[in-house]
């Protein structure tokens, strides 16, 4: 599982680099820059493109799917795929069921043929029907915290709500951590370790606990 921290909003080079370094020192394996309402950046793609030259971890984006025309959304994703080939994920928020096909068409139109796109695009949704609709278009369904279901492939969760994650039976290749206050993400070391061991279902964690914690 990739554990990604949502980066707090900063307006200066020094500020954004400091925030990134803080997150990495606290255990982030990747960073996410989020637009409203998940974050406060005016443009996640810009900030990610700016920051990625200064950090050594992947920088993903969480885009407001309603903020721009799908062709501009697709253009930003396409350019990030070219400039940040190791950036693993693009999260799109605010895409309703009727927007999925136009979005897919826009992305297919703007993406150079040699770059894959659907499997690296995660769409935030609520409910099993929505996640199925997303998966059926080839996108990856991302759910918020307790909304996760058996169709979910990644989870977005606030650190204050982390306890809800332990009750879930599913495992996810991507976990995005944020805070209600949109400030720096700070996770207790034990919780971070527990998260990183959720590559399989809870059983593995239980095995580790039963064995006295040896890893």
């Amino acid at each position: 599982m990739i554990v990604a921290f949502v980066l707090p909003h900063r307006t200066t080079l020094g500020g954004i680099v400091d925030a990134a370094e803080t997150a990495v020192n606290r255990g982030a394996e990747a960073l996410v820059i989020a637009e409203a309402p998940l974050g406060r950046w005016a443009s996640a793609p810009q900030a990610a493109a700016f920051l990625a030259t200064r950090v050594n971890v992947p920088v993903g984006v969480a885009l407001d799917g309603r903020a721009r025309h799908p062709l501009h959304l697709g253009a930003d994703i396409s350019i990030l795929q070219r400039m940040l080939p190791k950036s693993p994920f693009f999260i799109i928020n605010g895409v309703d069921a009727q927007d999925l096909d136009p979005l897919k068409k826009a992305l297919e139109t703007v993406t150079p043929p040699q770059l894959p796109f659907a499997s690296s695009i995660w769409i935030l949704s609520e409910g099993r029907d929505a996640t199925r609709a997303i998966a059926s278009r080839g996108f990856m369904p991302l759910s918020k915290g307790p909304d996760a279901n058996d169709e979910t492939r990644a989870i977005w969760i606030d650190t204050e709500d982390l306890s809800a994650l332990w009750d879930l039976e599913h495992s996810f290749p991507l976990c995005v951590l944020s805070t209600h206050s949109s400030d720096d993400v700070h996770l207790a070391p034990a919780d971070l370790t527990r998260l990183k061991y959720r590559t399989e279902a809870c059983d593995r964690w239980l095995e580790i606990e039963d064995s006295g914690g040896a890893r």
Binding site: T12, F50, H72, V110
Partner: protein, 294 residues
């Protein structure tokens, strides 16, 4: 059609561009400019702000601008927020250059009436004037009298693209300045190599290819029209060794533009040749032109 370098993977191309930006900064080039088009077969950059952000993040003093961003295709309040944020992050190193656009397919794809682009420029510039922060410097690109007057009216710099013939430049600059315009930028297609013949042999196929593509973007279909378009562009291009290029640029430098933009990338040119061109511009051409302007 003349041979052009084969297309390379986009990730490699953009990485090379990033390294070229760093190199340009290291040899004293002032600025780098990025343009915008959508839905072109070779993936022509459709996101100039995000690309500019990448170049700004990788450098420390290089100024990066858009020449040009297609303003009618953007929502101006959102654009202002993006530009303000990028200006802040880069400590004022971003310049916003905008233009009306021309390619029908782009307007159609965005669901915007192309015939309204002039009015959209005016309304969007009005919004930008109120929403952009004080540190944002705006430029307007165009060659027609309306575009030139628009740049002056909105207190923006004027970017004159190639291929405006040298003999026409003074008149256009005069219109702009007579309407209160303050800053002029002139762009030329330029290629500098160690040897004049080498420069021509390298570059002519690239320029012809690129402008044949621009002719298609303009909607030209008649072969004669395309050939005339390409010939006019080629006639305005400046190719040669450093001495010859400097000599050719002197009449433009004598008009005392505030910016001279050299377009040196048209296709997937080998990066070592691009770097050599940048080096010759920085070390020979630019210093000699600065003396003219002084």
């Amino acid at each position: 059609m003349q041979a052009t370098p084969p297309p390379r993977p986009h990730a490699l191309l953009y990485e090379e561009s990033l390294q070229e930006a760093r190199y340009a900064e290291s040899v004293g080039i002032d600025s780098l400019w990025i343009s915008e088009h959508h839905l072109w077969f070779d993936g022509y950059c459709p996101a100039p702000l995000t690309t500019a952000a990448h170049m700004l993040g990788a450098t420390n003093t290089l100024v990066v601008g858009t020449s040009i961003l297609l303003l009618p295709l953007h929502e101006p309040q959102d654009l202002a927020a993006r530009v303000n944020e990028l200006t802040s992050l880069s400590n004022g190193r971003f310049l916003l250059g905008v233009g009306a656009g021309y390619r029908r397919e782009e307007f159609t794809a965005f669901g915007i009436d192309r015939s309204a682009r002039g009015k959209l420029m005016d309304s969007h510039l009005e919004v930008l004037r109120g929403a952009l922060g004080p540190k944002v410097e705006m430029w307007v690109g165009g060659t027609g009298t309306k575009a030139i007057k628009r740049a002056a009216r909105f207190n923006a710099g004027l970017l004159l693209p190639p291929p405006v013939p040298v003999e026409d430049l003074a008149g256009k600059i005069g219109i702009y300045r007579s309407h209160g315009g303050q800053q002029v930028g002139v762009m030329r297609d330029v290629w500098v190599a160690d040897d004049a013949d080498q420069a021509a042999a390298q570059c002519r196929p690239w320029i012809r290819y690129a402008h044949s593509q621009y002719a298609s973007m303009e909607g030209l279909k008649d072969v004669g029209d395309v050939q005339r378009f390409v010939s006019r562009a080629e006639a305005c291009s400046i190719l040669g060794n450093a001495d010859a290029v400097t000599e050719s640029l002197l009449p433009i430098a004598a008009l005392r533009p505030d910016l001279l933009l050299f377009r040196i990338r048209w296709v997937d040119q080998p990066t070592d040749l691009v770097r050599r061109c940048i080096e010759l511009i920085a070390s020979i051409v630019s210093p000699r032109l600065q003396n003219v302007a002084a």
